[in-house]
Amino acid sequence: METVSLASAFAPHIVAVVGVALAIMADAFGRRALAVFGASAGLAGGAVVAGIAHGRPAAISGDLAVSGAGFSVVSAVVLGLAAVVVIGSLGWLRSTPSGGGLAALAAVVAIAAAAIAQGADLLVLLISLEAMAVGGYALVWSARTEASTEAALKFFVQGAVATSLFVLGLAILFGMYGASTSYVWLRAGMAGMTAPPVTTAFVLIAVALAYKLGAFPFHSWAPDAFESAPPHASALLAGIPKLAVVVALMFLFTRAVFPYIDPTIALWVFGALAVASMAFGVFGGLAQRSYTRMLAYSGIAQVGYALVAPALGAPAMMAVAVLLIAYAAAAAVAYLIAGYVRSVRPEWDGTIAGLAGVGRSHPLAGAALVVAMFSLVGMPLTAGFWGKFLVFGMAVSAGFWWLALVGVLASVVSFGYYGAVLKAAYFEGADPGGQGAADSPAPETTPDVPAVTAACVLTLVLLGIGVAPLFIGLRWVATLLSFA
């Protein structure tokens, strides 16, 4: 790998941090809207800078980070998606005390996620994970309800356990093999060492990252957090961190650790996590009545699909990046629509059944919901299809057709709850003269226009990525998301 300067590797993050600074200043003057625009503009700027950097081949900078090629693209997607979600949260943040500060925090989460995706050093990874988590706790808590306080606390405590496991793994690797935590030196230092300590460190770090992802059985914080957080915050926290952490996990393990451990251990650890997360996520999802809690469980299943990739090794990195980019965008749409529904139906109890007739009374939100749900299922014509196509395709080409079969069958079961959302939104409350929305005069509401607008923008992206490959193939994806 070539070398580039540190400043150029971290340029996207630096640009985005300027936005954070702007947001904090604007917030200090009580200008919440300006703070939101500042944070979003900084993120968008960072996304553009990262996007420009994708043309370079992947290069290590000063042992701390990689930039260029697929790493920059993931970074650009993380920042860009966050910019859309933050601007989509304008309505919520304007009406919330310290909304400007929350916008800055959201941007910090995104910047940390981008750094996770680009880190090539265990310390960079640890610090970014912590920055992301701290922002996450605050965003979950910002709903200021009893439930959200409790969920944030649970999230925090479990996150702290994960961090301690991570530090333990880090200590083993650092103490035994090297004077540096950078992957480059780690790999050089580990050459010729015996396997058991590496394996122990691998398991510790894998578990720590599984906590961060909310994979079964390290998931118990996730349903509470995503259910009780403000939906706009969940829109940011559900998908983006998963994308960043899985990319980091793939990079760390396939480059620095896997060569020194028994490959069957990696296969079984991740294969078992994947199957268990899929099974727990889909059946847990079926049992939910709350819309956002269902989405949280479904997120556990989605992590399960993603963890098929590390079981397969380096070639699956592009596939899992597509899968999680599609997931992050679709999950953002799904949560933003929850925010929108809350604004137009203040009496909504948060249940799936409570979405009755939303598709008919709010066609744009309904359309976004249709595309998001089908994308999460993995139906063709949406981005979600190509993610599953590539990941499960990599699985069968590596000979693990049964892993792919479990994955697609889990997707079938997942229609039980994703379809239930569409069933509520379109099939219920549709009898003319029935107890639909028309039986009482609608209370005065202010529709959350930014949320539905952002959701529609992301919906178009999901459809674009879903349909375009039919005509232009998938080569461009392989070019964009090359991690070599």
Binding site: R360, L381, G393, W401, S411, V412, G419, K423, L470
Partner: protein
């Protein structure tokens, strides 16, 4: 040729037109939808000059191959009859839903979207594109059943989606294995290099699972009755007319050629599934009191002949399967159309409550009798040549062990005649004494279908001319004559 791509593009343009121009109007969407579905028929007819009706293969526009697009369309002898069927049923479905006024724009947009996806299934010359269209079919159907269906529509829509999606899930793993092991996605290339497949048995059965659910073969047929009964008339017409045909088409198009030696070993299983379907479907139909459910379950019986024909493994058997598919694609929609018209007038489907309709609804009764006779396989109508040929081919392959199938034929006569007797004969039921016979507008789609049924019954070579060369190739692969 551009016309091949237009078969998918025209209905999609129709979707856009209906949404853009028809919103908020109860009557404009149906006119626009009719125009576009007739345009589809016209485009298909224009392909006749390229020799499509005699089995010539015609390719769609080729996009730059370096970019590896999945979009490659091709019409050949195997797909032409089913596209012809789609071309007939498109306008019929629009006419059948002429009375839909609630959310009419969405309804007709979904109908056209369904037509585009089905045409795409039959046209796709790339396995990934085939899978994309295969799944895309589910989306409009799901909403058609769920929003415009009858009382139990929500449950039926979910059941329809989950059953067929589960079938496609197996199929997806099979397709992924084929694609990633051969390194190709084009149908011809995949089939050419299918010999590299490591586990052909697995691939065959994974793919066949998706097809068998769609047909539907007996243990997995239960989605069909619910979906048919609850679907609006246009949905039932397309479901019975062309959606079920995707299964038979897929077996011949993909499952068989990808692993002919596995198919050879699987023939007895397919024959048993077919035989059981013929008998069990007919027996179930005989036991129904719901007229629409009766018609729906008769589909299981008829589609059993498709499996029986395919299981023969010969060109004659495949020809029988194609003939049965086209014939059933005309007869079942006619029956659903008529049952739908009756329901519109009586708001019940209970056979016990009908009586003496022959006197109150003479026009309807004539057509219904005709359709029932076509369904029981009266010679001279379209049902006969296909089912006769299937039995002949089945006898050639399985000898006397197909005799129980004959019981299915007898049952077909029984349930059809029982439906006719139960609804048309007897005393005039007082509650229906005042209802009006079907109008001239209702007659148009029914007469179109009836004419096609007679034409195909008299001249089955119309289909066999199209399929001849394509089926000979497949039969050669399967090792039959």
């Amino acid at each position: 040729m551009l016309a091949v791509d237009l078969l998918v593009a025209v209905p999609l343009l129709g979707v856009a037109a209906v949404i853009a121009l028809g919103r908020g109007s109860a009557t404009r969407p149906r006119a626009i939808a009719l125009a576009f579905s007739v345009a589809f028929t016209a485009v298909f007819a224009s392909l006749a000059s390229a020799g499509v009706l005699t089995g010539t293969a015609v390719d769609g526009i080729r996009l730059a191959r370096e970019a590896f697009p999945f979009w490659t369309l091709r019409i050949d002898g195997l797909s032409a009859p089913l596209l012809a069927l789609t071309a007939v049923l498109g306008p019929v479905a629009v006419l059948a839903s002429w009375g839909v006024r609630e959310k009419a724009a969405a309804h007709h947009a979904l109908l056209l979207g369904l037509q585009a996806s089905i045409a795409g299934v039959f046209l796709a010359a790339d396995v990934i594109l085939l899978y994309v269209f295969w799944e895309a079919v589910l989306i409009p159907m799901y909403f058609l059943i769920g929003v415009w269906g009858h009382e139990d529509r929500r449950h039926a829509a979910m059941k329809f989606f989950i059953y067929t999606f589960a079938g496609s899930a197996f199929m997806l793993v099979g397709i992924l294995t084929a694609v990633f092991q051969t390194g190709h996605t084009g149908l011809a290339e995949v089939l050419d290099s299918a010999f590299v497949l490591g586990q052909p048995t697995l691939v065959f059965w994974l793919i066949a699972a998706g097809m068998l659910v769609k047909i539907p073969a007996v243990p997995v047929h239960t989605w069909l009755a619910d979906a048919h009964v609850e679907a609006p008339t246009a949905g039932s017409i397309l479901l019975a007319g062309v959606l079920l045909k995707m299964g038979g088409y897929g077996l011949l198009r993909l499952a068989l050629p990808i692993a002919p030696e596995v198919f050879e070993a699987a023939r007895p299983i397919l024959a048993v599934l077919g035989g059981v379907g013929i008998f069990y479907g007919a027996a179930l139909a005989l036991a129904q009191t719901d007229l629409k459910r009766l018609v729906a379950l008769s589909s299981v019986s008829h589609m059993g002949f498709v499996l029986l024909g395919i299981s023969a493994g010969t060109e004659r058997g495949f020809a029988a399967a194609m003939l049965v598919m086209v014939s059933h694609g005309l007869v079942a929609p006619l029956l659903f159309l008529l049952v739908g018209q009756l329901y519109d007038r009586t708001h019940t489907r209970d056979i016990e409550r009908f009586s003496g309709m022959g006197a109150t609804l003479p026009r309807w009764a004539t057509l219904f009798t005709f359709a029932a006779l076509a369904s029981l396989g009266l010679p001279g109508l379209s049902g006969f040549p296909g089912e006769f040929l299937a039995v002949v081919a089945g006898f050639g392959a399985w000898s006397y062990s197909i005799v129980p199938v004959m019981a299915g034929l007898v049952l077909a006569a029984a349930y059809n005649l029982r439906a006719v007797k139960g609804t048309l004969h007897g005393e005039i039921a007082e509650e229906w004494a005042e209802i009006s016979d079907i109008s001239a507008g209702d007659l148009v789609p029914a007469v179109v279908l009836a004419a096609c049924i007679v034409a195909l019954g008299v001249w089955p070579m119309f289909v066999l001319d199209m399929t001849g060369d394509a089926l000979a190739l497949i039969a050669a692969l399967a090792g039959g004559m």
